[in-house]
Symmetry: C2
């Protein structure tokens, strides 16, 4: 049986061996939720870029640039980090380059060694789980956290994914056991549980409560977000019975 591990912060990823494994990067509020929403709304591609300057330079290459630092749109960027911006195919056919406080760094730290990098969100939880079952490889769920620290929303997503995969994967990892229990014990009222969280409070202060609701929507989309080279692409999957 393949194994599943949870890495609670990019500052701990050196403790995990990513070789031959599928890494699922998650930054629920909001990078990976936004990327999945962009892909669902027919952007042509999304290129995650770790640094602000490098991302800004993509503009001259024909990209729409999206940049967020500390929860707000970074100076000189066309788009911030709200999934709602991409709804109604608003950027259909466009190439997007994106940099965020935590999410893009976590992708960067995952891609060197992993066999595959996926991006995870509640928006496509079941599709990601189905894909992982189909592939049958070992999995590391890599939480972006907040500036290196544990955060609640990414850890709860990790717990949710472990919970869905529990019959098909082994998990001898305390992060997986702990977060699975935390998710299962709070899934009935995830939003109210998360409203205590520091990052949710931060977002509320920015008047983007609607983003929180959207990012916590379960299984709105039925595809997987996968890194191919430098670009995230949409992978549809055959229905798993």
């Amino acid at each position: 049986m393949p194994k599943i591990e949870v890495c609670l912060s990019p500052e701990l990823v050196h403790l995990h061996d990513l070789k031959n494994k599928i890494v699922v990067v998650v930054d629920i509020f909001r990078a990976t939720s936004t990327m999945i929403t962009g892909l669902a709304n027919k952007v042509s591609s999304i290129t995650p870029v770790a640094g602000l300057e490098a991302c800004r330079n993509m503009k001259s290459k024909g990209y729409i640039i999206a940049g967020e630092r500390n929860g707000q749109t970074a100076e000189g960027f066309e788009l911030g980090n709200s999934p709602l911006s991409y709804l109604n195919n608003a950027y259909a056919g466009k190439k997007i380059a994106v940099t965020t406080t935590n999410g893009t760094l976590t992708i960067e730290k995952s891609k060197k060694d992993a066999a595959e990098v996926l991006i995870g969100a509640f928006l496509n939880l079941q599709a990601t789980a189905d894909y992982l079952i189909q592939q049958g490889k070992d999995v590391v769920i890599h939480c972006a956290g907040w500036k290196g620290m544990f955060n609640l929303e990414d850890s709860l997503y990790a717990g949710a994914l472990v919970s869905v995969l529990a019959n098909e994967f082994d998990f001898d990892c305390d992060g997986a056991i702990g977060m699975k229990a935390l998710f299962e014990q709070n899934q009935g009222d995830l939003k109210s549980f998360l409203s205590q969280a520091s990052h949710a409070k931060r977002l509320q202060n920015h008047n983007i409560d609607a983003d929180i609701d959207f990012c916590l929507t379960l299984d709105k989309y039925n595809f997987v977000g996968k890194l191919e080279g430098e670009e995230l692409v949409k992978v549809s999957l055959n229905k798993v019975v």
Copy 2:
């Protein structure tokens, strides 16, 4: 109101500012539980030492040396890391030098900047909480984890301490919020919940199930374990009404 934070691994401690704060180091299985038990059983002092060699060298200075690596007594050491060894005042009046896989390193990483370093265990949870309320300083609970990774038992202790202190301290820290919920939702059957944990399994493999039961005993002792210089000492406290 003073603040409480949880640091889930010594690999994340650089993200926390320890200055002017009381750091509570916890390594439930078994370093800090064993230290509290030693102090309760009248050892003259306990000196935590991060390195195996440095600890071994303490023998010639009149110390009883206790050494554990990967859950087992290290070669050439008189004592391992079982709290039961110290019961019935077995080492009363002796000076102990101790090194363990995770706990002593975590103490080492805490003591440079912190105002005070305490060692935490379920065995004296309420006494530690009472002391922290008396002092009124900001607190960081520093989990030893397992070789840098998150572990369940130390994180649950952190959650337990946050839970006891919740009315007297602010906590705007996802680690504190998450672990408090995890503890409160599983406190009715902590042992069975922890039996899934990787470290508990490891201990069971070593036939030291009795150690687990002992380390999960709540409030057996009514004093605080505190680092004074290089030594851990027992601090009794005035009863808090």
